[in-house]
Amino acid sequence: MSGLSLRIRLRRDRSLLLMTVPTVALLVVFNYVPLFGLVTAFQSYDPLVGVGQSEWVGLYQFQRLFNDPLFWGAVGNTLYLSFVQLVLFFPIPIALALLLDSVLSERVRTFVQSVVYLPHFFSWVLTITIFQQMLGGAGALNQFLRTNDLATWDVMTEPGTFALLVTSQVIWKEAGWGIIVFLAALAAINTDLYEAAAADGAGWWRRMWHITLPGLRAVIVLMLVLRLGNALTVGFEQFLVQREAVGHETADVLDTFAFYYGIATGDYSYGAAAGLFKSVISLLLLWGANKLAHAFGGDGLYRR
């Protein structure tokens, strides 16, 4: 095959290449050109004259950024929320998958799956509206508290428990969808192993510890790598929608920071600097997490 000259191969594959043109064009315009647009982070961008004519200011935007308490507040919120989500969210899909996998009835399994996958397809606006109706000031919870003469508690506007609130929203929306990969890994475990172990007298706990969990190890490590690599991404729309209710000190994360102090104020270069900061740190995190996975003998995102 490779003996053919490039011209002949180009002629042979011209329809295939033509088919990729729309996608490649869109990616170039909306993904690659913006990559070069990151140079605005080193400018004082003026929309009237564009990237070409705007003044170069070197690291000025980053100096501003690193002296901005609001920026460090957003960094702190991002890391804190990421940590809370890692601890509280991460184990739940695994536990739910184990639970579901142990259910014998096919009908029950299918039904539970279709129910728990559903919220994954809801928008954040819808999810938060549902939470508001259940837990908000006029919601079902407080309706119940009021009719029973108990103290009311508006969960939706309470900054102190905001991290728990948004994590429970993520759990409600995504934990069900998250079980898919774990269910597949469970289905791939050879059942002969269980039979042999049971014949040797291994009880439920020992089978879980020596067969099931090792069988899930590779997937768990992969998901952990992805989660750590995305530690600075905790969701955008979720915080955008709830910022008014709890205030910016609590709800601003890195992504919303770039929006509110970059686009909404017209301070584009400042927002771009915040975005670039986040991208660079995220790539480093992803690389580091992958190294960690290799160190523990997993595959990570790619094989060594």
Binding site: R9, S15, L16, L17, M19, T20, P22, T23, L26, L27, V29, F30, N31, V33, P34, L35, F36, G37, L38, P47, L99, S102, V103, L104, V108, V112, S114, Y117, F121, F122, S123, V125, L126, I130, Q132, Q133, M134, A140, Q143, R146, T147, W172, I180, L183, Y194, E195, W204, F236, V241, E244, A258, G262, Y268, G271, A272, G275, L276, K278, S279, L283
Partner: protein, 325 residues
């Protein structure tokens, strides 16, 4: 008579030795090596599953019932209605009679249909274009695609590009910047790569070109994955509201349903442009609860309509993308 009884005796110990002593019939699906279920173990499974189901379905039930309740029922319940107590379609009639909601519904449907069609067509073409082994440049193009999954210019440079191209206030700004999902292309591509090579070779011998092969061989054999990818795209468009905030924040007559949900139900603002319609009694700050819940249900309906047909294919779609990607 007694004689026959005594002769029967010897057989009864054999019958007693059968494993009927366990009281309950063994579930034939339970593997032979597994221990018999205990009441505690069953409860440890059943209770969490019940809680999970209730957590998802409970709120949806309350919202649907409230949207169908009469004003009297809502007043009696002091807000949300849990048990149906006087049902009416009044809220839905009032909602669909409102110009803002009607327009928003049309806008949402339009964006979703057009966007999904655009995304699906270019994704299918690209996935097939990259799925033939040994074709020129497919490795390079694949890398070009995958890089965008990990590196991006971020919000502001993208915003500047779209507005720089004159996208502010344009419909295409809501569709094109996010029209390509590399993840979905990888899902499709891994399916196309697995399409029987014999089938494709046979078509080629018959003189079919790549367009023909894609249309009459590959597409008909991958309907399920096409449907799942279409659903992923459609849900993305139906749920999107942030690009509206970015590119047409002031033009309320072009808002999709999700954005109306945000401003009207979530933030409790009155609906713009409906001062004369009497929607939510216009001058009042908050509209009746049933009406708000009807808007919530309206955003849910399209999803619930297609969901049952596609639900069984999710696993295939998610896993091939995750593993092969």
């Amino acid at each position: 008579m007694t004689d026959t009884l005594t002769t029967d005796r010897p057989s009864s110990p054999v019958a007693a030795a059968k494993p009927v002593a366990r009281g309950r019939k063994r579930n034939p699906r339970r593997p032979a090596w597994e221990e018999p279920p205990t009441a505690l173990g069953q409860a440890a499974k059943g209770v969490p599953l019940g809680v999970v189901l209730l957590a998802v379905l409970g709120p949806l039930w309350i919202i649907v019932v409230t949207s169908l309740s009469t004003r009297a029922a809502v007043n009696r319940a002091g807000g949300l209605v849990i048990w149906p107590d006087g049902l009416t379609l009044e809220a839905y009639r009032q909602m669909l009679g409102d110009p803002t909601v009607r327009t928003a519904l049309l806008v949402s449907l339009g964006i979703t249909l057009v966007g999904t069609a655009v995304s699906l067509v270019i994704s299918i073409l690209c996935a097939y274009g990259l799925s033939r082994p040994r074709s020129v440049g497919h490795r390079f193009l694949l890398v070009l695609l995958i890089i965008t999954m990990f590196v991006s210019g971020g919000l502001i440079p993208t915003f500047l590009v779209v507005t720089g191209l004159g996208g502010y206030g344009q419909w295409w700004a809501l569709i094109l910047p996010g029209a390509v999902s590399v993840f979905n292309i990888l899902v499709l591509r891994s399916f196309y790569s697995e399409t029987s090579a014999d089938l494709i070779d046979a078509a080629r011998v018959d003189g079919a070109g790549d367009w023909r092969i894609l249309w009459s061989v590959v597409l008909p054999t991958s309907r399920a994955v096409t449907a799942v990818v279409a659903l992923f795209y459609a849900v993305g468009y139906w749920n999107s509201f942030f690009n509206v905030m970015l590119y047409m924040p002031t033009e309320s007559e072009r808002w999709p349903l999700t954005y109306v949900l945000l401003t009207y139900v979530n933030r409790g603002n009155g609906l713009p442009g409906s001062i004369n319609s009497g929607f939510g009694t216009a001058h009042a700050q908050t509209a009746p609860l049933s009406l708000q819940m009807a808007v919530v249900v309206l955003t849910l309906v399209p999803l619930l309509l297609v969901y049952p047909f596609l639900q069984k294919h999710f696993r295939t779609g998610v896993l091939t993308g995750a593993i092969k990607g």
